[in-house]
Symmetry: C2
């Protein structure tokens, strides 16, 4: 079975590299214990995890896949039973999985995926496409829908790549993880520039299927903007879009495949726009008097074509807690303290900005951007906070595991709106989270940052932490998730800016798209997936 | 019927303003007579035009529309019987229309459109949404499909607008013509920046329904990039997308509505991203040694983030004929002649570039761009050619009518491809047009320009003129159109970069999208338009 096995190089019970853990500074633990209270969160042993027995697969499906490319091993089934959402982590730590795939298929290439989908369609076996397994919204939950059996279709072997240097286009296999794709491109002096927090383990196919946005997407473009063409295997055959820079030949089918989250088919090839690897990079921190003033400063940058490649404005709460969690001392803390003292304020909002590219261009853009930030009342904290942010840019999920270790729930969610309605969305969602958790007896710390700024609006990314309600962790989460989601819907924001829909946001899709919009999606799904095998229970509301 | 009438302020037999005509310089006429030969192209009188008698509409449809909003007048039916494609002009001049709508409905607002579509769906009456009637691909041809009756749904009364200044978003009614929308925005110091050649008469709804691209789209963005949300009336109700800057909540339904060309529904509201009206504008001409060298120079601009807002590189043939048609003398001709003499070349390629925006930004960007063009072997021709191009930027369609007056066919078509494959596409399409018309005994002049440059490729826009084959004008056109389209398909280009599909490109949509892609579109159409009344015979191939 060598070469046809799924990956087993991450923690089975939490985020990422088994050798890497985050440790929380003592001061942070003390602060949290004082504000929200700490507990304990034990982890079951892998051998103790309970999961349902697998059902055997039909022979014709095994034949279509090649029997050396099928595994029903217990550990592999556990590894494909969840993504990395907060409820997923709670379930894994608790050691009881109500759902698991009956088998994991590990096809060698795109044509094999087409054959497998055809066979699954004939045999009415549900299929969950699986890339990096990093979904935080239940996108890879092994749901069966109306079918008896469900398989995970692990794309880790689809990792072919090639580069068209002249057109700055790379063809990348969907199974490539972020760092693998970057390493391939760096050999040619190129970069994709896509750095979501899931970068280390998320895959190219997953980025496309979920409309991922990365930390530098203001500069390089969101993943949906980077994709120039796709091939998608569906139960009725392969959909392939032309590799041209643009077309007016009807509605964009590429835009139909992007964000389809495995409910229409499986992305088997992607052409993406790449860039010269940056000659220079400059990240720095600024402090602004308040979140609204900071948002206005970012709006001005965006509307004057001066947006840096990375822009991230933390509200006062996130600014404070980040300093605490990173154990910031030295220039970063000093700079912020000084600023606050000079201004006679208790709090300030930290803005991280970053520029990448040719040396001259970085210098030119930075000078224009810095002047605009000063005009907006910003004070530079220098490069130290930028460097600190860069060092810590992928540690969030490790910190979440460390918080779970001390009985603290840590959850994130994101939305977006126009500038005119952004602050009311900010207030509404923050208040809803606060109120729901306070009512449950576990008052939270709610933080937010603005990122992914556009000329017409921006996204808001909320992080909240609270003591876990022991024994009813999932109920606690569900209540606050519903409260936050209903607040987003009421304020007219989108239910997700870049985490995607998965299982967790599906109930809000009727509010997002309306009846006619849902009918449009349902119709496409019925056309491409007539037996409804593709990723049941995701994206579309199950009652609609 | 006042206030509920369609517009009658354009030529019924050709392009645009009845008071405006282009006159061809004597030198140009002489040159053309020598190279391709001239003839004569008389125009029928409006009173002589033959068209089928209208069928009466069902009462319930009249009730849904409001009877004061229905016209069956002969002139209105003629005016809604064609767009502005070359075959349309041939038919109009010939005075025989095989197809005409049975009536023109002129609804007052979006809710009326929803009611009308519901009534048409119940009564099985085909509906052709009609904006500016400027389609050059048969997009508003009054085809009935499987239905007995067909109406034109003229959106000229849907012209409401409002502006969200903070978010730089304008809500624009689909019936607003380009200049009307710009005038509304200019009052607020804003611009949409969308200037296709059809600007004067094309409508906001039409720009969206056809994925229009304008002359300054490299800077301001194509129309599909400007649209932030849509409302689309369909036979099953209204589809409305959220007005947020971005969402990852599934496939983009906005991208499904854009380019749907009236086959899924009628766009009744559009939110578009607008900008501050430019403080400065600078247009200028450059000359480059050849088309391939020029394309490389434009590629370098695009891939170094130095792309001007307007970029248009003519090949040697277009450079020559443009000079001739514009009667260029003075600095423009002198500059070009001098260049050619100095370089010892017979031909050169003219590049028009334009920058718009804040004064400082224009100066900065222009300096960087000009330096890059000089490095690429470009020689500046100064601002005179830029001004000349600006003056003539909307006259193309008037010149086409003037050429028809002297028995000359003038047709355009466009495609796009990646940089790596652009020159082979250029050669293949140019040769196919050349060969087809030569074979028909009417050897053409074929011209091309590269515009709409992207980091990964560009569009090619072909113009060709040839003596008309008297008595078989349509056959002549059909043969060359097939030859050019087949060459595009064989080279892997898109069948249209911004003219859209309409009737004329529908036969090539299977090559463009593949079987599964067509099935996806067909499925959506069946879901939203179950009785198939929306713009029959457009976009989707009729045999598929």
């Amino acid at each position: 079975m060598s070469g046809a096995e799924p990956r087993r190089d991450t923690k089975w019970w939490g985020w990422g590299d088994p050798e890497t853990t985050a440790s929380l500074p003592a001061a942070a633990l003390e602060h949290l214990d004082g504000r929200i209270g700490l507990g304990a969160g034990p982890i079951s042993a892998l051998s103790d995890v309970q999961l349902p027995d697998p059902l055997p697969l039909p022979d014709r499906l095994l034949a279509a896949c090649g029997s050396d490319a099928v595994t029903v091993g217990r550990e592999d089934r556990i590894r494909h039973a969840t993504g990395q959402s907060y409820p997923d982590l709670v379930r894994l730590r608790g050691g009881v999985l109500d759902e698991a795939p009956d088998a994991i298929l590990v096809p060698p290439d795109g044509p094999a995926v087409v054959r497998i989908l055809e066979a699954c369609s004939d045999a009415a076996v549900a299929v969950v496409p699986y890339g990096g397994g990093t979904s935080v919204v239940g996108g890879v939950a092994p749901l069966r829908g109306a079918h008896e059996r469900v398989v995970a279709l692990d794309l880790c072997r689809l990792r072919r790549s090639s580069v068209d240097r002249r057109s700055l286009i790379a063809s990348l296999g969907p199974g490539l993880r972020g760092p693998e794709a970057e390493a391939l491109l760096r050999r040619e002096g190129l970069t994709l520039g896509h750095f979501p927090q899931s970068f280390g383990f998320g895959t190219i196919g997953g980025f496309a299927a979920t409309r991922s946005a990365g930390q530098a997407s203001s500069g390089y473009g969101r993943f949906d903007e980077l994709v120039s063409s796709v091939a998608m295997a569906t139960p009725i055959g392969e959909l392939r879009t032309l590799e041209t820079p643009h077309s007016a030949a009807g509605p964009s089918l590429r835009e139909l495949a992007l964000g389809s989250e495995g409910t229409l088919g499986v992305l088997t090839e992607l052409s993406v726009r790449v860039r010269e690897a940056p000659e220079a990079r400059r990240y720095e921190g600024w402090i602004l008097p308040g979140f609204e003033e900071g948002a206005d400063a970012v709006r001005n940058l965006a509307q004057s074509d001066l947006l840096p490649d990375v822009v991230r404005l933390s509200d006062a709460s996130e600014s404070e807690i980040s300093r605490l969690l990173s154990g910031a001392r030295g220039p970063r803390k000093l700079g912020a303290d000084l600023y606050l003292r000079v201004r006679g304020r208790r709090e300030g909002c930290v803005l991280i900005v970053g520029w990448e590219g040719e040396r001259d261009a970085v210098a030119r853009r930075r000078a224009l951007g810095a002047a605009a930030l000063r005009r907006a009342g910003g004070v530079s904290l220098g490069r130290a906070p930028g460097r600190a942010w860069e060092r810590g840019r992928y540690v969030g999920p490790y910190i979440r595991d460390a918080l779970l270790d001390v009985g603290v729930m840590a959850e994130t969610l994101e939305t977006s709106h126009t500038w005119a309605r952004l602050m009311s969305l900010y207030t509404a969602v923050g208040s809803a989270i606060e109120a729901s958790l306070a009512k449950q007896g576990t008052p939270p710390i709610v933080m937010c940052h603005l990122s992914h700024a556009y000329r017409d609006g921006a996204s808001l990314y909320f992080t909240f932490i609270a003591r876990q309600r022991e024994g009813s962790e999932l109920g606690q989460w569900r209540a606050v998730k519903v409260a936050a989601s209903e607040a987003i819907v009421a304020a007219g924001g989108t239910i997700t800016h870049h985490h995607a829909v998965g299982r967790d946001h599906a109930p809000y899709m009727r509010a997002e798209l309306g009846d006619v919009g849902l009918e449009a999606l349902r119709a496409v799904k019925e056309g491409l997936d007539p037996s409804g095998i593709m990723n049941p229970g995701k994206l579309l509301p199950t009652n609609g």
